[in-house]
Amino acid sequence: MTAVLEVRDVSLRFGSVTAVDSVSFDVAEHELFAVIGPNGAGKTSIFNVLSGVYRPQQGSVSLAGESVLGLRPAQIAKRGLARTFQNIELFANLTVVDNLMLGRHQHVRYGPLAAIAWLGRARAEELRHRAVVEEIIDFLGLAAWRMLPVGMLPYGVQKRVELGRALAMEPRLLLLDEPVAGMNLEETEDMARFINDIRAELKIPMIMVEHDMGLVMDLADRVMVLDFGKPITTGVPADVQRNPDVVAAYLGGAVIEEATSEEVSS
């Protein structure tokens, strides 16, 4: 199996604070790779490095065999990386359809002059991509809200719109930053089903940052645990749960002996 993403020895520092400390990992095709760790472990910082929002001081990142380190976010997006955000970053004044159409931005091919003329190329492209967007709306069950500005929608729906916007990019790799944060049980299960559907039907490899251990342990193929920017361990969920260092990172060093895997996964 070839790696979609190769991260080698990436370090990111803000002044004297080391947010990410020589992190390396691979993500294979069709894999769901989870990144967990206590608050401030550097999970979101890794996402920001991958999507080009932050530039790390050292290391290398290659997406589908091509180095993407140092590129601007838009250039990385063009190479097939899509992401969602922990604190929803939707375009609040635009409708659900327009937000998803923005996900298709790089696939919609016409320039300003064609836009002014509209008839012809611009309209044909808009129609074509609108059809794709409506399929994603179907897929995520967003039809009821499609013409509403997303700023008006409830939180759980906004999370789903954000997932849809990332899917609309037809990514080679999808980064999900806490997809079920703040959701109730039903919404969490809906989101889990969507993530499973994305794997089964669209076969997009994903990296997921999540604090809901039940979700991570159920869905992920492999898990990487971070603490203070350093990777503690990487492996299949069952092994990670039993790793004493992981238990220490979550519960503190003194309780290693008493800790059980149930406590970590609850």
Binding site: H105, H107, P112, I116, W118, L127, R128, E135, E170, L202
Partner: protein
């Protein structure tokens, strides 16, 4: 489900484009029921909108027969200002880049047109180009070029900082316009406006129709073309990218919107509109001193956008018409309020009242109807749509 664009096996209506010339059915009484995406995305996507706009254009065409020439001149200037306001709205309303430099681009357009159309043997710089569409386009193009040069600033600055830098443009422009006497005629003097001839019809001077009537129709046509173009930009990929940059620029980048490219496009298009506005503003006013392209004009444009409705084309037009009518409204005041004087030497006089109006209107709209005149229109529309229920 597949996210590929080739999945044509769904319900026939979702396949959208290029499925034969079949004209989709519209259901009476269900104006917002669309049976295909083409209908939904149409320029005027409901029957009431189509009829309403048709009626509005017809009414505007007939206005010159109904009004006095002095009022018509004001309205004509309003149509021209509306072009500039649309331009600023694309930049500030849609793309979220606050600019106080709009007057500079209007000035560049005005003097480009005046110089191109000017008499080659006259006192001022002139090239004697008579083809009107050419000098209007050139005015837009030169202003747009200035916009291209300024745009890189916007990729490094935002919000208040960008506003202050663009304010600098007005100051620089004011100096250049005032000192380049061969071009502008110098402060307080000005140079005469170009006299447009369209398809052999002289627009200046009275004939079968008066000058004001002819100019009004001419401005109306240009405004309609520019407004339709602006709507097309706004509903296209370009307009969506503008809105994305305005709402969340980090997320826009992650979605693949190249920020610097789209800020450049926004500045270019906006300056083009300003340039076209400038070229016609000169014609509408007859003569212009360089002091006209000052910060006050920029503020007037911002007032038009805020009062009319941010990020709407029709709002920009409404705002521009209202601002254009302000001097007239202020001028009528002495008839009703005895303490307002029409003489500039007394206080308070109509000129002071007019300036105060800008501030009052902006404050009032921001407080009570931030969506501007367009928002008021939306309320009226919602009221009638849900009539007789008030909720």
């Amino acid at each position: 489900m597949s996210v590929s664009t080739h999945s044509g096996h769904r319900a026939p209506m979702s396949t959208g484009p290029a499925r034969g010339p079949r004209r989709p059915r519209r259901l009476w009484g269900r104006p917002e029921l669309f049976t295909d995406y083409r209908q939904d995305m149409a320029f005027l996507n409901t029957r009431p909108k189509q009829l309403g706009v048709l009626a509005l254009v017809a009414a505007a065409t007939l206005v010159p027969f109904m009004l006095e020439d002095d009022l018509l001149k004001l309205l004509g200037a309003g149509l021209v200002l509306a072009i500039g306001a649309i331009g600023l709205n694309l930049l500030t309303g849609y793309a979220g880049q606050v600019s106080l430099g709009h007057a500079f681009f209007v000035g560049v357009g005005a003097y480009t047109a005046a110089a191109l159309a000017g008499d080659p043997d006259g006192r001022y710089l002139g090239f004697g180009v008579e083809f009107v569409p050419l000098w209007i386009f050139a005015a837009g193009a030169v202003a747009a070029l200035c916009g291209v040069i300024v745009a890189p600033l916007a990729t490094r600055l935002r919000g208040l900082y960008l506003a202050v830098v663009t304010l600098g443009l007005v100051v620089i422009g004011g100096y250049v316009f005032a000192e380049w006497r061969e071009l502008s005629g110098g402060p307080q003097v000005g140079r005469p406006a170009p006299e447009p001839v369209v398809f052999g019809v002289e627009l200046t001077g009275d004939g079968t129709y008066t000058e004001e009537q002819k100019l009004f129709w001419f401005f109306l046509v240009v405004l309609i073309v520019m407004a339709v173009a602006a709507r097309n930009i706004a509903r296209s990929k370009i307009g969506r990218a503008f809105a994305a940059i305005r709402d969340r620029d980090v997320a826009a980048g992650v979605m693949g919107v190249e920020l610097s490219r789209y800020k450049l496009i926004a500045f270019t298009i906006s300056s083009f509109y300003a340039g076209v506005c400038g070229s016609l503003l000169f014609v509408a006013n007859g003569t212009f001193g360089p002091e006209r392209f000052s910060l006050l004009l920029s503020v007037q444009f911002i007032a038009m956008v805020l009062i009319g409705g941010v990020a709407t084309v029709s709002g920009a037009i409404m705002g521009a018409m209202l601002i254009a009518m302000l001097p007239r409204i202020a001028g009528e005041l002495p008839h009703y309020l005895s303490f307002v004087s029409s003489s500039p030497t007394d206080h308070p006089n109509i000129f002071e009242v007019e300036v105060a109006f800008y501030g009052l209107l902006i404050i009032a709209f921001l407080l009570f109807e931030p969506r501007g005149l367009f928002g008021i229109w939306l309320r009226i529309r919602t009221y009638w749509k849900s009539f007789p229920f008030s909720y």
